[in-house]
């Protein structure tokens, strides 16, 4: 087993754990953090492949993902704040207005 394969597995495990966390955790902020974990897993796989192939495009893409993740968090957290201000709870089970 070489490094690339190992790191690929790690990235897949991180991604899966992030996805699992999104499904199982109730706290909205924790769910956001799990999404960040997913992004990190993906970043790891991108960097691994870039390093193996010797091309820099993978790194460039990771950098762009950084920017996007930051912007996303910049919007997502205010939204969560506003939701919580309205309903006074961070429990995802309380937000079922899109039902049906």
């Amino acid at each position: 087993m070489d490094k690339t394969q190992f790191l690929l597995w790690v990235s897949l495990v991180l991604f899966s754990i992030g996805l699992l966390g999104l499904i199982v955790r109730r706290n909205l902020l924790v769910m956001l953090m799990c999404m960040e974990l997913m992004l990190n897993g993906v970043n790891l796989s991108l960097v691994t492949f870039a390093q193996r192939g010797g091309n820099v495009e993978g790194a460039v893409m990771v950098f762009l993902i950084f920017i996007v993740a930051a912007s996303e968090i910049a919007i997502a957290i205010p939204i969560v704040l506003l939701l919580v201000r309205h309903r006074r709870t961070l429990d995802a089970g309380a937000y079922t207005d899109l039902k049906g």
């Binding site: 996805l19 999104l22 995802a92 089970g93 079922t96 049906g100």
Partner: protein, 630 residues
């Protein structure tokens, strides 16, 4: 010159279109009525003139006129052509149809004056004439069948002409449905002939049967199938039930359709396909048997009827039976002869009864008539002449034709028998009896009319009485038209064996004696105050009830056929088939769709976690699929 046949057929159709589409729209009621009258009577008259021209052409050339108009359809390798055929038989029939038809159109001018559906009446009458001409002039059985169905349609439209009365509408329906039952037989016959000959041209089929090699299909089978159709159209037992009900239509309709022309279509069919029947002794025997049975039974019913038109209706059924007797024993030309004379005197009788009804303001019950001879003399004289003709009093028309029928019923080698002759003669005796009974009760004796009706009795206008006079004259001298001799080259009379020849004069005497006997009996029973008849009626009350109720045949049909069919329609087809199966299936489909939608709606619970799980499941499915097919 060879377009004349098509023109003869199409002129009444033009009349139908004009009267139907424009008859009420020409502006002004008087103008509408006059225009419709002129168009409706002129076009059949023109057809009559053209028929005469074709007749002279036929005489000149000696060969039948054939017109192939157009090809209706080409299916597979088979072609269905619309063609017309004019030989001696067609000439006779067409002359009667157009001639008597025109007369009746003229009569209708007076009879239907003031009716609110005046234009519709003449449109339908012209339509009928179009289909009838198609029937008698058609070259193939297919064209004839189109005309056959069309006259059934026109008959339905005209019987139910005053459709606001549900009983009249029901009578029209009954006529159409009974006709259609017969048509099933006609269709079967056509299928058999088509399968055997590959064509439906009647001349080819006849030649095929008369030729040296016997065709593959049984002549009796085809003959019986076609005869079933003729039974429906010509009101023979067991499909006779529609004709008395058809009297619900206007009287000129009864005269034209149910006396002179449509009901004779069955006779025409059998006579035309004589090639088949001359080689089908079993079928011919059935034809003769049913004919004489119908003649007898209808005559017995007519004796007890009290509606002037119903008596004439049963008389028509009976006379048609006699015509079928002639056909059944092979005397085809004699049957056609009787068709011609019957057209004259029966039309005269019906139109005369229409005149009586018109005079009495709508009264049709002969128990409420009487003493009309002096009040409506022209109607009376013409009616009397026609009555004498149908009774068979020489030298009027009916005597000649009926006598020939009776003679061949006795003496024909193709099925003539004493019992046939005896029953037919009994029917003739009864014919004479009930016709003179009708005459007596209607025109003689003390008046049994209500005072208001009696006050308004008046002779009919010249458009009606003129036609009556013409028809009465024809009834008188029509027997001298040499129809049988004219048709003999193609429809030879059966060769009577030598041994029976000497009976001929005796039978003539018997026939004449029976005719006068009927007259005498009617006078005996019904003159004066008809007290003797009343006594007999009371003594034979049971028999009388059976006769008045037409042997309860309508009730029998209702119980045997009507009610089971209604039950089937209601319980099986409506409840089970339509409601449970079809509606139920649709409702189940809709309910299933709704339940499916509700189930899918439950997927959207608004829960983020659940959506995330769906994403995982979807991603898993996508990955697995791409791994398998990648």
């Amino acid at each position: 010159m060879s377009d004349l046949l098509g023109l003869i057929v199409l002129l009444p159709l033009a009349g139908f279109l004009f009267n139907g589409l424009l008859g009420t729209r020409l502006g002004g009621e008087r103008l509408n009525e006059t225009a419709v009258n002129v168009v409706a009577c002129a076009l059949p008259g023109l057809s009559f003139v053209l028929t005469l021209m074709c007749f002279f052409q036929l005489e000149a050339s000696g060969k039948p006129l054939i017109e192939a108009t157009y090809t209706w359809a080409t299916i597979g390798g088979q072609r269905f052509e619309v063609g017309f055929w004019f030989d001696r038989l067609s000439a006779v029939m067409t002359l009667v149809v157009t001639g008597v038809g025109t007369l009746i159109h003229i009569y209708s001018i007076g009879y239907m004056h003031g009716d609110k559906s005046h234009a519709r009446y003449f449109a339908y009458l012209n339509l009928f004439l179009f289909f009838m001409l198609l029937l008698v002039l058609g070259r193939s059985l297919l064209v004839m069948f189109v005309g056959w169905e069309g006259v059934g349609l026109a008959s339905y439209l005209l019987i139910g002409f005053w459709f606001d009365d549900p009983a009249k509408a029901a009578a029209g329906k009954k006529a159409f449905i009974t006709n259609r039952i017969g048509d099933a037989g006609f269709l079967v016959g056509m299928f058999l002939l088509w399968g055997t000959f590959g064509t439906l041209d009647m001349d080819t089929i006849n030649a095929g049967f008369l030729g040296p090699k016997a065709p593959a299909v049984s002549a009796s089978l085809v003959g019986l199938a076609l005869f079933i159709g003729a039974c429906g159209k010509s009101a023979q037992i067991p499909l006779h039930v529609w004709l008395p009900d058809a009297m619900a239509g206007p009287t000129p309709v009864s005269a034209l359709i149910h006396a002179a022309t449509m009901v004779t279509a069955g006779i025409y069919l059998v006579a035309r396909m004589s090639g088949i029947y001359s080689h089908a002794p079993e079928a011919s025997a059935v034809v003769a048997a049913i004919g004489v049975a119908t003649a007898f039974f209808a005559a017995t019913i007519a004796v007890a009827q009290t509606d002037i038109k119903k008596v004439l209706a049963y008389s028509t059924v009976s006379q048609l039976g006699l015509m079928f007797v002639a056909l059944g024993v092979g005397a085809y030309a004699v049957a056609i002869f009787h068709v011609v004379t019957h057209a004259f005197f029966k039309a005269c009788l019906f139109l005369g009864s229409g005149s009586v009804i018109h005079a009495l303001g709508g009264e049709q019950d002969i128990r409420k008539m009487g003493g009309l001879a002096k009040k409506i003399p022209i109607t009376f004289v013409t009616f009397a002449i026609a009555t004498a003709a149908i009774a068979g009093i020489p030298p009027l028309a009916g005597f000649f034709s009926k006598d020939e029928i009776l003679w061949f019923a006795f003496a024909s080698p193709h099925g003539g028998a004493v019992w046939l002759w005896a029953l037919a003669s009994a029917a003739s005796l009864m014919t004479s009896f009930y016709m003179f009974r009708l005459l007596w009760l209607t025109f003689f004796g003390a008046s049994r009319m209500t005072p208001e009706v009696e006050h308004h009795v008046h002779e009919s206008p010249w458009s009606m009485t003129g036609v009556l006079i013409v028809l009465a004259l024809l009834s008188a001298v029509g027997g001298f038209i040499p129809v049988v001799h004219y048709l003999e080259p193609q429809w030879p009379l059966p060769a009577v064996p030598e041994a029976l020849h000497h009976h001929e004069r005796n039978l003539i005497f018997v026939a004449v004696a029976l005719a006068f006997a009927g007259l005498a009996l009617a006078w005996w029973f019904f003159s004066g105050d008809a007290s003797r008849a009343t006594r007999v009626r009371e003594r034979l009350a049971g028999v009388h009830r059976w006769l008045t109720n037409k042997y309860y045949i309508d009730e029998l049909y209702e119980a045997l056929l009507g009610r089971p069919l209604t039950w089937l329609s209601d319980r099986v087809f409506l409840q089970l088939g339509d409601r449970t199966l079809i509606d139920g299936t649709l409702h189940a489909l809709a309910a299933g769709a709704q339940r499916g939608a509700a189930a899918f709606g439950a997927l959207q619970a608004g829960s983020l976690h659940r959506y995330a799980l769906y994403v995982v499941v979807g991603a898993l499915a996508a990955v697995l699929w791409s791994l398998r097919h990648g």
